[in-house]
Every structure is written in C-alpha cells, then in structure tokens.
C-alpha cells in the first residue's frame, strides 16, 4: 500500500471532474422538483443521454455534437414522463420507475454494437498561462468544457430561481399548484418544461460518464449515479449552491475510493465500491430532519377540477 501515490492536487482536480455528472443531473432534477415534479427517472435519462452522446460522438467524431444530442436524448425521454404524469395523471413515483427501467433497456438496445469502442476525446479548455499557475492551475484551469458548463448551469439556475419572474413562477407552481392555476399560470406547461430541462441536464451528465469519465460504453454504466443525484437534491434542501457542495462531496468520495483501490489499501475493493452508496444513506439520515423546504406540491398530481 502506498498512500503517497495519492497527490492531493490531482485528487481535487479529479474530484471536480467526478462530480460533474452528479452535479448536472442533480441540478436538472432540482429544477423539476422546484416546479413540484418528483422524477425518479433520472437514472434512465442519464443512461439514455450516455448512449445518445456516445453514438453521435463515435459516428461524427464531434464530442460537442455528442453532448448536444445527449441533452436532446434525455429531454426526449423525459417527455414520456411528462406525458404520463401531466397528461395521463399517473403516479409520479411509478412513472419515474418506469422511465428508469425503460431507459436502461433502451440504452442497452441502442448500444449493442458500441461496446468496446473508444470515443474521440474532448479536449480541455485552453486557459493559456493560467493553467500553469501552481496548485490553482491544475485544479481550476485544466478541465474540459463540460465541467465549466456544469458550473454555469448551477449558477444560472440559482440566479433564475432567485431573481427572475420566470423563477418566481416556477417556484410558485411547485409550492401550490392550485393557487398558481387560480392566478392563471399554465401549471402543466411549466412543469413539462421543467421536466425537459431536468431530462436535458441528466442526458448531459450521462454523456459525461460515457464520453469523458470512463470513456467507453457498457450497459448500465451509470451505476446508480442518477439515484445519488436524486438523494443530492434532498441533501441540498432544493438549493442550487448546496447541490454543488454535495456533488463535490460525492465526487470526492468516489474519487478517493478509486484512488485508494489504486493505491492497494488493505480494504477489499468491494467495500470501497460500496462507500458512495453508504455515505448517501448516512447523509440522507443526517439531513432527514430538514424537511421544511420541500416544495409544497412536490409529487402531487395536478388536475384542474372545474
């Protein structure tokens, strides 16, 4: 065992990258939940995004186009959920599960002939001399564009929710859909858009795993990241900045256990691999008391009665 092989600077840089899929997916889900929709299909949308992005990237050679299509793929799949919950008024928990099961199957089907291929890599953003600053350079200025996109998404979601009328209306719909409807807001339309945004973000997060983190395609490769993202929204009490914090925490644990595996620590690999899931449970327990901020209409079916 050689713990000195773990370089803290590289670890932190890697953590930021490891956190990106969770960050994107959780931010998207946060928007949906603030609009009052509990979409348990994050895992399914992520894996669909992962394969959509992968196929496009391999066939066009353009990771950028791959990410765009991944977002589109995730959003398209989320429309199924929107249809079930907003039009067919189905139970959101059941519909979310359906989306995940369907997404896992669909992605496996789409990805059959892509197993074992290496996709073209997306280059890092060139910050010129900034990247050469000791410590800060590798941590802050040596990432691919999606890492920065993730941060941008969190910041924009925060700003939109807090400062704009659009954000206010979205929060109002999530807080009390009957009141929002009585004021004349289109509850279903707003929720459908929020669900699609969640789908697009999950798709991006999934593609980040298949195109950058791993990078290759294997069935079920998101391995529960979508579910961790869901837990993260609860952890964050539906606040964007706390999603960022939580994502870095989970990214850190994931990365650390990988590094420990690499360093050959005397803990069996399986037990290290369990750790992110166990930490998720522990965090859920610790934060379970803070329930007051859950959007008032979260998970409830809306139907204008008269």
């Amino acid at each position: 065992m050689d713990l000195s092989a773990i370089n803290p600077i590289i670890l932190i840089a890697a953590l930021i990258s490891a956190a990106t899929p969770i960050l994107l997916a959780a931010t998207g889900e946060l928007v949906a939940e603030r609009a009052g929709v509990l979409n348990l299909g994050v895992e399914g949308m992520m894996i669909t995004g992962a394969i959509c992005g992968f196929i496009i990237t391999v066939n066009t050679g353009s990771p950028a186009l791959g990410f765009v299509m991944a977002a589109l793929g995730g959003a398209t799949l989320s429309l199924l959920f929107a249809f079930l919950t907003q039009v067919a008024l189905a139970n959101q928990v059941a519909s979310g599960l359906a989306l995940t099961l369907f997404g896992l199957g669909l992605s496996a089907l789409m990805g059959q002939s892509y197993v074992g291929i290496k996709p073209p890599r997306m280059g890092d953003v060139d910050f010129g001399p900034l990247a050469d600053i000791p410590v800060l350079g590798p941590i802050l200025f040596s990432h691919d564009p999606i890492v920065y996109l993730g941060l941008l998404v969190v910041a924009s979601v925060w700003a939109v929710l807090k400062f704009t009328r659009m954000g206010l209306v979205l929060r109002a719909v999530g807080e009390n859909h009957d009141a929002a409807h009585a004021l004349g807001y289109k509850v279903k339309r707003i929720r459908t858009l929020a669900i699609m945004f969640g789908g697009a973000c999950a798709g991006l997060g999934g593609a980040y795993i298949s195109l950058i983190r791993v990078p290759q395609w294997t069935e079920g490769m998101t391995a529960g990241v979508g579910w961790i993202a869901l837990a993260l929204v609860v952890f964050a009490s539906w606040k964007p900045w706390r999603v960022l914090l939580g994502a870095y925490l989970f990214g850190g644990i994931t990365q650390l256990q990988l590094n420990l595996q690499g360093a050959g620590v005397a803990i069996p690999v399986e037990y290290l691999a369990m750790s992110p899931y166990i930490v998720t449970i522990v965090v859920l327990v610790i934060l379970a008391k803070d329930k007051s901020r859950a959007p008032g209409s979260l998970g409830r079916i809306f139907h204008a009665s008269q």
Binding site: L168, R171, A172, E175, N176, A179, L183, G184, Q306
Partner: protein, 505 residues
C-alpha cells in the same frame, strides 16, 4: 341611479349531471357593492369564475363598460380591471408577501419598488402589511389582506370577494368594511359573495339571490329582512333546531394544561388548554381558522398523543391511548376535512363505515373484518340520516358535501358516544342538511352525551351551545355560558383584531 359597470346576460354553464348556472343575468353599477347571495351549490362560484376567466360560459354574454367581455383567462380579466379575492386563499405559504403579490400582477415592478408600493397602498386603505414576511407565518386575516392588496395594486374597477368574512373576527370584519366603504367612495364596484345576511344588510347596496343555478330574486338589502332573504335563498321555510333545556351532569372529560408542539412548519401549537366537559352539555368552540382547531381535534381523537396527565376521561388518564382505544371507551370524533380525513374519498361508504365503526360495532373479530355487518351499519347510517346515495357501495367522493357530512356525523352519532368532538360540522353544507346535523347533535346531548362543537360559524355556535370558548393562537379562552354573550365579547375572546394594526385614514 349609478351607471352600469358589468352587465351579465343569460349566462349558462352546465357540467355533466348538473347545470351550475342557468340563464343568469344582472347588472352591477359603478361604485356599487353588490351582494351575490345563495346556498352552497347555488352556483355562486361558477358564476364568479366565469367573470374572472377561469371558466367559459356555454351561453350568454357579459359586457364590461358597455363592451363585450369574454376573458379567456384570469390574466385578461385582470387587465380589464377585474380583481378577485378567493375564499380559499390562492397564496403561496413559503413565499413572501411581495413575491405573492408580484405573482398576481401582470407587469410587476422590481421587487424593491413593489415593496414600497405595497407599504404605501396598504397604509392608504387601512390594511397595514409588511412586504418581507413569509405568508405562511401570517394570520388568516393578514393573509386576506395580501390578497386584497394584490388586487388593489392593479386598481381594479370590479373587485370580487368570495366569503371574505368567514376567516375574520368581528373586529377584523369592521376593519374590512371600512376599507370596502373607502373603495366604494372611490368608485370601485364590489361583487360581494356571502351567505351571511346581516353583513349584507349593513354593507351592500343591491343583492341578487341565486338558487340551484338560477336567479330567484333581487332586493335592496337594507330594506329587506334577513328572514325574507333567507327564504328566497333556501326556497322553503326554515326550521330552527329545538332542544329541551338540560342541566349539565357530572364531568366526563378534563383537559389540564394541554400543550402540543406544532406538527408541521406552518402548524399551530396547542398552548396550555384547560377545559372540563360535563355530561349532557354542548360546548361550542369558536375561533378564526388556523388557530388550533385541527390540532385540538387531533389531540382529542387520539391521532396525536399528548404527554401523560393532560387528558382525563371519566377519571382515567387517556393521553397515551390511540384513536381506537378511545373509541372503545366512548370518546368519538368527526374531523373537519370530509374527504381525506373523516372519509377516504375513493372508498365505498361500507369501507368508510368500517373505518371508525370497527371497534364499537363489532365489525372486527380478532383482526378478521365482517363486511356484511359493515354494510348493515352503513345502511343504518344512510337510513337514519337521510344520506342521498344510490347505494352503500358508492365511493365517498361521489356524494355531495352535505350528504357526505351527514354520513360522517351519523357514523359517529350512531355509535352512541359518551363524548363526541366535531369540527366544522356544517361547513359547506346546505341549510336543510345543516339543520339536521345540528338537531342530531342536540339530541345526542339530550340523551346525556357531552358534545364539543368546534366551528367558525358563530351563529351556529350561539344557536346550539350551552357554553362557549374561543381558540386563539392555540390558546383556549375561559369558557362562558353562551346565553347573553355579545358580539363584542365573542370577538375579544377570539383575539380581537389579532394584533393587526387598525386603519388611520
């Protein structure tokens, strides 16, 4: 005569199975407070929803200021100058006053600017309100102010108010009436929906009376007696409940310093409630909604457990007993919310009879349920309380409010309680069903049971209670004999103006 602001003509709206409005037409003058009077289910809500653009009429026309008015949505209605204060507030608990108001405005200014205007307008109309407070923390009266200010900021020509005084203490009502009079003087018209006749007589210039979706009359309230208006509204001569005089017996239920923390973020704690209830008496508990009514019922029914020693029943500490253990010894309850609390909406009346009847009606033998006996019990309730339903197998939500309420009250009354606690027993119920329910409660007390009636309807409480107390901020006032209490005294027991600032011009 004032000129006409809004003219309604032949408005008709049908829903499957019911015609909510049929050929409704009347005029509202400029600067007029116009009462819309009718029982629950008379079609008042549907009518105002049409004016506010939430519902489209099947036939008929509306003219606002002489121009055809067909608002496709509330937004358009608001832009045309129609504002509405809802009966069940359309507010967002977790948002601030300013955010709530911004949501109801078409072109809301920036938050800082809006906050200034809120302060300014609320002062001008004698309804002070601070823009930064979270709405969930406000009292019902203050929440209503939010709605009113939201409308006033748009400078409406017509303000619709749906049962605005049902959540106010008498003192708060007079503050509101002053504001409405100011508005009238400025030329704003008000469509005032209510079934409280005395209010209408003091406030309104004209009244239109609806029954079963049709206009059945109109009058000048100040010149018409309340009894005449009531009979137009109900269409029959009303029976007032009768009771023989009873004298209170021994104590059965005793609350000593009952304290309970709030169950939810915006819930109300119960604070140091003490009360002794005697056999054969009806104890009326008044108060504005949200002052601990649900919590008190929950503590008595056993849904929330209290610390030991706070609740004593026939000399026994029952604080730790759950709902069924309390039922077993004769303490029964009927909560306010019919659908979802007193009854499961999608379940049949048989299943709903089983819900609370299992223990006392022997429907449960060592865990095995006797459904045919439950059917028998349900049918007895239907029979005894004249519940109108095709069969006992129908889902609870298929019944009208009044019929379901009769079922819910009947279910408890037929179980021969020693103590019955009911919350809002006649809320949203038509007059004849309400009279039947009140009579059943009076009969129960006459038979020697003790009854606690929690209600926001002061007239009802004065009519049937022996003693009266009021809940305010989770505290219960000292009970007093109901006979001879004045409106002012009752108002003060209910918390006066709830510490709200009063108007100064």
């Amino acid at each position: 005569m004032t000129e006409t602001l809004l003219r309604l003509n032949g408005l008709t709206k049908a829903y499957p199975g019911v015609v909510a409005n049929s050929d409704v037409g009347f005029d509202i003058g400029r600067g007029e407070i116009h009462a819309l009077l009718g029982e629950n289910g008379a079609g008042k809500s549907t009518l105002v929803k049409m004016i506010y653009g939430l519902v489209k009429p099947d036939h008929g026309t509306m003219h606002l200021n002489g121009a055809v008015f067909t608002p496709p949505d509330p937004r358009t209605a608001r832009m045309a100058g129609v504002g509405m204060v809802f009966q069940h507030f359309s507010l967002f608990d977790a948002l601030t006053v300013a955010e709530n108001i911004a949501l109801g405005m078409e072109d809301a200014p920036a938050m800082g600017q809006l906050a200034d205007r809120i302060t300014q307008v609320s002062q001008a109309y004698g309804l002070p309100l601070s823009p930064d407070r979270v709405v969930g923390d406000l009292s019902a009266g203050e929440q209503q102010r939010v709605e009113i200010i939201r409308c006033l900021l748009q400078e409406p020509k017509l303000l619709i108010m749906d049962e605005p005084t049902s959540v106010l203490t008498p003192q708060e009502v007079s503050i509101l009436f002053e504001t409405l009079n100011t508005l009238r003087a400025e030329g704003t018209s008000i469509l005032y929906i209510s079934h409280k006749l005395e209010e209408i007589r003091t406030l309104c210039d004209a009244a239109t009376i609806l029954r079963l979706g049709k206009v059945v009359g109109s009058c000048v309230p100040a010149e018409t007696s309340a009894r005449d208006m009531a009979e137009m509204m109900v269409g029959e001569t009303l029976k007032t409940p009768q009771r023989a005089s009873t004298k209170a017996g021994e104590a059965v239920l005793q609350l000593s310093g009952l304290n309970l923390p709030p169950a939810t973020a915006f819930g109300m704690p119960l604070r140091d409630i003490s009360l002794t209830l005697h056999k054969g008496e009806i104890m009326g508990i008044g108060g504005v909604a949200g002052n601990g009514q649900d919590e008190l019922l929950g503590a008595l029914s056993g849904e929330t457990r209290a610390p030991a020693g706070m609740i004593e029943y026939k000399g026994r500490d029952i604080a730790a007993l759950g709902p069924n253990a309390r039922r077993k010894i004769g303490l029964l309850a009927a909560p306010e919310e019919r659908l979802g609390h007193a009854a499961a909406p999608d379940m049949s009346l048989i299943e709903n009879a089983m819900l609370t009847g299992a223990t006392r009606e022997n429907l449960d033998r060592n865990g095995l349920l006797n459904w045919s006996a439950a059917r028998g019990f349900a049918e007895r309730i239907i029979e005894a309380f004249d519940v109108r339903t095709p069969s006992s197998g129908n889902a609870a939500r298929s019944l009208s409010g009044g019929n379901l309420q009769k079922f819910v009250i009947g279910r408890e009354v037929l179980q021969r309680p020693d103590v019955l606690v009911v919350n809002q027993p006649t809320w949203g119920v038509d007059a004849s069903a309400a009279a039947a329910i009140r009579q059943a409660l009076l009969d129960l007390a006459e038979g020697g049971a003790a009854v606690i009636v929690i209600s926001q309807d002061l007239d009802e409480l004065m009519e049937i209670s022996d003693r009266f107390a009021a809940l305010n901020e989770g505290r219960l006032s000292q009970p007093r004999p109901a006979a001879g209490l004045t409106v002012d005294e009752i108002g003060l027991m209910m918390g006066g103006a709830h510490g709200m600032e009063v108007a100064h011009g």
